[in-house]
Subunit: 407 residues, 2 copies
C-alpha cells in the first residue's frame, strides 16, 4: 500500500469524527501518540472541574452529596455510562478505586466461586500490575494457590485449560496487550474458560473506548479497566469494575461503608448493598469522577463503529508509511499487521529505541518506550488526524536514522 | 461561663488565625459547622485545579509524570506534608487510595507481625467502615481471627488487654470518635498495646489537621486518615497511610505496579520499593492529589498550637452558649466538656434531631445528624469565627424549640 500526503488530507476531510478534535486541548505543534497511556484533556473537562470545585463543593458544601449534584450517585452513574462503552447493562459497572485495587477485588471474588479450584491462569505478557496483584493475593491467602503463566495467545490459554482445566479457578487476561497491541478473541477465550468451569476476568485498560467490547455478548464474568487512557479521564482517573449481574451475590474483601446497603445508618454490622454498589469500599473520589464523567460523556457522542474504523485505519496508515519510508531504519513491527487482531497502538522493536524516542519528543512527536527495546505509538481516533500520522512517520524516519549515521 | 456578643467579637479581633478565613470560599450567609465531614474549599485550590488540568495535563501531557510537575512524586510529597501535621518523619506517610483501602492494608500488615496472635481489638463506637474492614478481612482469611469490641475508652481497652493481651494482634481505634468527639489518649493506649505485645493502628480521620498528633512521640506503629475533613482536600480526597519506618519491611496485600521498586521496568516479578512507596497499589489520582496538596500547604501555614487553642475555644464557647440559651431546648451534651478529652466537634442528643437540623439548615447553619438522635457540629478553626458560634447557637435555640411548640 502506497500512501501520499494528499491521500491523508482526503481521509481527514472525509473523517466522520473530525469534529471531535476541537473538543480537545492539544498543545500546538505536538503530534500526541500516547493517548493509550494518558488521554488528552477534553475542553469540557476544564469547565466541569471549575463547576465541581466552585459551585458544587464551594457552593453546595456537604449538601452536594445529595440533591441535584448527587455526588453519592457518581460511581454508579459513571459506571452505567462506561457500561455503554463495553457492552454491559446498567447496574453492572461501578467506577471507583484504581485498576489495581479493582483487580484485587475481582480476583478475590473469582477465587470464591469454587474454592476447590486453585489455579489463576494468565499469560506472561500480561501487564505487570495484573501479575503482581495475582501473586500478592496468592501470598496473602497462604500460598495454597498457583499463578500459572503461558505464552500470549488463544492457543496457549486453550492448551493450558485442556491440560489443567479442572484446577483453574480464573483466567485473567488483558484484552489488548500493552506492548504488542495484540487483541484476544474475548468470546473464544471466555467460552474456553467456561467450558473448563473457570471464570474470566478481563482487563480492558488498553481497549475500552477504542475497540468495540461486548461483555454481555461474550458472557464475561468480571472485568476491570482504567479511566485515564482512551477514556481521557485524567491522570490517575478512577478505574472501574464490571460484575455480571448473575455474579453479584459474590462479596469482596475490602468491606467499606460505601459498599453497605445503607451507609448513612452507620450500622455496626456490615450488610452489603444488593447492587453493584457493594463493590465500592471507601468514599467516592468526587473531583476525579467528575472529570471522568465529562470525558465519557464526550466519548459516548461518537459511534463506536466509526471509532474502531478510524482506529484501524490510522494504525494501518502508520504501518504502511513506515514500510514505505523507514525500510532501512532498523524498525521491526511487533504488532499484528491484521487490524482485526490489533488494538489501537503500534509497536516496533528498534536497537536504539530510547535515543530514537528522545529525538521524536524533541520534534514534537510524543510516543513512548517500553522495555526492552520497543517504540510504542497510540492512536486515539477522537483527536488524531491522518495528517498527524504522516507527520509522525516523517519524524520517525529521521529519528531512527540519525543516530545510526552519528555512530 | 457567660458569653456575650461583644465577647465573641473581641475574640475574633484578637484571633491570630483570623487571616485564614479569607483563604476559603464560603457561601454568603452560611455558618458552616460540617467541616468535620467535608472541609470547605481553599481559594487556592481553584487555581491549583486550573493549573493541573490546563497546564500540567493539557500542556505537559504524558511528560508531566516526570520533570518539574513530577506527578510520580505526588503521593510521597503530599505524604511528607501530611507527616508534618501528624508528627511523623519524612518517608513514613504515603497519600493514596481511600481510608478504607488503607485501613485494609494496615490491618493486613498488623496481622502479619505475629501470626500466632488472632484478636483484632477495637471499640463498639469506632467508625463503621473500620469495623467492616476488620470483619471483611477476618472473613477473607478464613475466619481464624476474632474481632473483639469493648466499650469506648482507655479503661475498656486496657482491661481487654489485661485479660487477653497475649492473643491480641492489633488494637485499632479512631483517635477522635466520629459521634461523641471523645479523644483517646494516644500515648497511653499505644503503650498499653505495646506492653501486651500488640501493634496499634490509629485512624486519624477526625483529628488530623485540628488536633496536635505526635505519632513518633507515641511510638505509633500504623495509622490511616482521610483527606477531606479538616485537611480540606475536597470530596473523596485521597487518604493516607503511615507506617513507622521500623515496620517498613512489612509487605501489603494489594501488590500493584506503583508499589514496585522500579515500576517502569515493567518487570514480570514484584519487588516492593524499599520505601513507603511500597504501600501504593495503583496509579496516583493526580487531580485529587493536587487539590489535597494545595489545601495541606495552606494548613501548614497555621501553627498547630494556635489551631488547637482556637478549636477548643470555639467548642467551649458553643457549649457555654448552649448552656446559657438552650437550657429548656431538650439538648443533652454527649461530647466531653473537658476540651482536653475532645476533638473539634460537639454533639448533642435531641428527641427531634432530624427536624431541628432541617430548621437549622433552612436558616443557613450547616451541621449534620448522626444516628440515633444526635445533632453534630464541627468547628474548623481556619475558617470559622467566634461570631459564627454565636449565630449558630441563636439559630439552634430556635430550631430546637419551634418543633416543640408546634406539636
Amino acid at each position: 500500500m502506497k500512501i501520499k500526503r494528499e491521500d491523508l488530507e482526503t481521509l481527514d476531510r472525509a473523517d466522520p469524527l473530525a469534529r471531535f478534535r476541537a473538543e480537545f486541548d492539544l498543545p500546538k505543534g505536538v503530534v500526541y501518540l500516547d493517548g493509550n497511556s494518558l488521554g488528552a484533556p477534553p475542553r469540557r473537562t476544564r469547565e466541569r472541574m471549575r463547576r465541581v470545585v466552585d459551585d458544587e463543593w464551594g457552593g453546595g458544601l456537604i449538601g452536594s452529596w445529595t440533591g441535584d449534584t448527587a455526588w453519592m450517585e457518581l460511581p454508579r452513574r459513571v459506571g452505567d455510562k462506561i457500561a455503554r462503552l463495553v457492552g454491559a447493562a446498567p447496574g453492572e459497572v461501578i467506577a471507583c478505586d484504581s485498576t489495581t485495587v479493582n483487580l484485587y477485588k475481582a480476583l478475590s471474588m473469582a477465587l470464591a466461586v469454587d474454592p476447590k479450584r486453585r489455579v489463576l491462569l494468565s499469560d506472561r505478557g500480561n501487564f505487570p500490575t495484573d501479575l503482581y496483584v495475582a501473586r500478592g493475593l496468592v501470598e496473602q491467602l497462604g500460598g495454597l494457590h498457583e499463578v500459572m503463566l503461558v505464552d500470549p495467545g488463544e492457543e496457549g490459554i486453550e492448551e493450558a485449560l485442556a491440560r489443567r482445566g479442572g484446577e483453574v479457578a480464573v483466567v485473567f487476561l488483558t484484552h489488548v496487550n500493552f506492548t504488542t497491541a495484540r487483541m484476544y478473541d474475548m468470546a473464544r477465550v471466555t467460552a474456553a474458560a467456561h467450558q473448563a468451569g473457570a471464570v474470566v476476568v478481563w482487563d480492558l485498560s488498553h481497549s475500552a473506548g477504542v475497540v468495540p467490547i461486548d461483555l454481555h455478548g461474550c458472557d464475561v464474568d468480571l472485568a476491570v479497566g482504567c479511566g485515564y487512557k482512551y477514556l481521557n479521564g485524567g491522570p490517575g482517573a478512577p478505574a472501574y469494575l464490571y460484575v455480571a449481574r448473575r455474579l453479584q451475590h459474590l462479596g469482596q474483601p475490602i468491606s467499606g461503608w460505601m459498599g453497605h446497603a445503607r451507609p448513612f445508618d452507620f450500622s455496626g454490622s456490615y450488610e452489603p448493598a444488593a447492587s453493584v454498589s457493594r463493590y465500592m469500599s471507601g468514599t467516592p473520589a468526587v473531583l476525579s469522577l467528575a472529570a471522568l464523567e465529562s470525558s465519557i460523556d464526550l466519548a459516548l457522542e461518537a459511534p463506536m463503529d466509526e471509532i474502531r474504523r478510524k482506529s484501524v485505519a490510522l494504525c494501518d496508515a502508520f504501518i504502511a508509511l513506515v514500510d514505505a519510508h523507514c525500510a532501512d531504519a532498523g524498525l521491526e513491527l511487533v504488532s499484528p499487521r491484521d487490524g482485526r487482531a490489533r488494538g489501537s497502538h503500534v509497536s516496533y522493536r528498534h536497537p536504539r529505541s530510547a535515543q530514537a524516542m528522545q529525538s521524536l519528543l524533541a520534534g514534537g512527536v510524543i510516543g513512548d518506550c517500553r522495555p526492552p527495546d520497543l517504540l510504542r505509538f497510540g492512536f486515539a481516533p477522537l483527536y488524531l488526524r491522518y495528517a498527524d500520522v504522516g507527520e509522525a512517520v516523517g519524524r520517525l524516519a529521521q529519528a531512527c536514522r540519525v543516530p545510526v549515521r552519528a555512530e
